[in-house]
């Protein structure tokens, strides 16, 4: 089974040279730590920054320079600042090659729910609805089950959805799955995980064909 860093490490294998990537808050942010050496990947932060660098040293901290998670960050050479409309222009016009998001639920048609739990204080969707409606390539990073042990990979989302038919791939603590018109297609297993464990933890349509390899991390 993978921990958060393992999930991030596996997702980093999806990166390609020249990619522009938007990483959501939480586990997705960790993907930045595993960008392969020598690969040029540019991080977009939807508050208006392309070319985001690592956290600043104490001396570098600048209150005017944050990411979409409101964390202080730095810039890399070749970075650019822009307003929020230009930022979402990049996103909506398909210029962002990969978006990595967390989720509360995903269904087997690629619908995602990650912004609202009825009965709880709703903080808002931020940029999530724009991202899921626009990105051509969305990977969800999440735990396979919730704290109560229930599957988060469902036939139908029970929570209010963020977007329809948009998730292409899910990387969980248990496995990697592609979402196709047949449902969740199992591609890889996390170390120590069996197909049975994935079946048990997946409520939506699961497709298991041939020998499923173990991730190479």
């Amino acid at each position: 089974m993978l921990d958060k860093n393992g999930i991030a490490k596996r997702i980093a294998q999806e990166l390609q040279d020249g990619y522009y990537v938007n990483l959501g808050i939480g586990v997705p942010t960790l993907v930045a730590n595993y960008i392969p050496e020598g690969m040029s990947v540019t991080l977009q932060s939807e508050n208006g920054l392309l070319g985001m660098g690592p956290f600043p040293t104490e001396a570098e901290v600048d209150a005017d320079l944050i990411n979409a998670g409101k964390q202080t960050v730095t810039t890399l050479p070749g970075s650019a600042f822009f307003d929020s409309a230009t930022s979402f222009s990049m996103i909506r016009s398909g210029r962002v090659d990969l978006t990595v998001l967390g989720a509360m639920e995903v269904n087997d048609r690629g619908d995602i729910a990650n912004w609202k739990i009825p009965g709880k204080m709703v903080k808002g969707m931020g940029g999530a609805m724009d991202l899921v409606a626009s990105a051509k390539n969305i990977i969800v990073a999440m735990m396979h089950t919730n704290k109560a042990g229930q599957s988060k990979l469902l036939k139908e989302c029970t929570l209010p959805i963020t977007g329809l038919n948009c998730v292409k791939k899910v990387v969980t603590n248990l496995c990697v799955m592609d979402i196709t018109n047949r449902g969740f297609e199992l591609r890889e297993l996390a170390p120590g995980v069996t197909v049975e464990m994935v079946k048990e933890a997946t409520e939506g349509r699961l497709v298991v064909e041939g020998n499923i390899p173990t991730m190479n991390l």
Binding site: I66, T72, S84, S87, M129
Partner: protein
């Protein structure tokens, strides 16, 4: 033509109860600190605030929430704010949540004289309820409308007395869009210079969009998530 006023109190003098305001900033980054303080001092009530976030309990728009000056918040993410939550749950405060890109584009549309446009964000979700939908090239979109604020209040890095504005780093965010959207735009700047001192190639908001400008003071620039590396 004189757009320059002495301070924030003069700048917000014409804002009265029940006004619809846009306020720039993302989180606490690039917010019009001086103007918010002046609005708190003025005690104006019943405000509708269009702003990506709602501040924190004791800073930013949170200060206006403490004073119960806000009737309605229009935001994409309201964050961690206990007083906000209390007022929302008690029904004192109305909240409209809008996808961030749609929020930005509705600001931009107001400044562009575009009354409505189509965007994919929120299609198939509760955001789409009651909205016109349409297919373009096999994809579904919602019709969204330009905002129509009475005032836009923004914070810039530098400005000149003609109202030209320049922003710094990610403190830019919604500020230029809102500056262009206001029927009356108020800009507070860290540095106020004479016309000709800013390079005309690198103006983020041309002065035509700005009605009132003043030099702000004592910027706190509070940081929400101070993340540092060992270096």
């Amino acid at each position: 033509m004189n757009k320059v006023v002495e301070n924030a109190d003069q700048a917000v003098a014409s804002i009265s109860d029940n006004a619809v305001l846009m306020l720039g900033g993302f989180g606490l980054c690039g917010i019009p600190e001086n103007s918010i303080s002046a609005l708190v001092r003025k005690g104006v009530k019943g405000l509708t605030c269009i702003s990506n976030n709602a501040g924190v309990d004791d800073f930013g728009i949170g200060l206006m929430l403490q004073g119960k000056q806000v009737k309605k918040m229009v935001s994409s993410y309201v964050g961690e704010n206990a007083e906000f939550e209390r007022q929302l749950l008690s029904g004192e405060l109305e909240v409209e949540l809008i996808p961030q890109g749609t929020l930005a584009e509705r600001c931009r549309a107001a400044g562009a004289g575009v009354p409505a446009f189509f965007t994919p964000a929120g299609y198939g979700t509760e955001v789409a309820e009651g909205k016109e939908t349409r297919e373009f090239n096999g994809k579904m979109y919602l019709l969204e409308h330009a905002f129509d604020p009475d005032f836009a209040i923004v914070k810039a890095w530098k400005g000149d007395t003609d109202g030209n504005l320049i922003f710094k780093a990610t403190a830019r965010n919604f500020n230029p869009l809102m500056a262009m959207a206001g029927k009356h735009t108020i800009a507070e700047v860290e540095e106020l210079v004479e016309p000709g001192e800013l390079d005309p190639n690198f103006i983020h908001v041309p002065g035509i969009f700005v009605n009132t400008i003043f030099k702000g003071t004592d910027y706190e620039k509070r940081i929400e998530q101070r993340t540092v590396s060992a270096g």
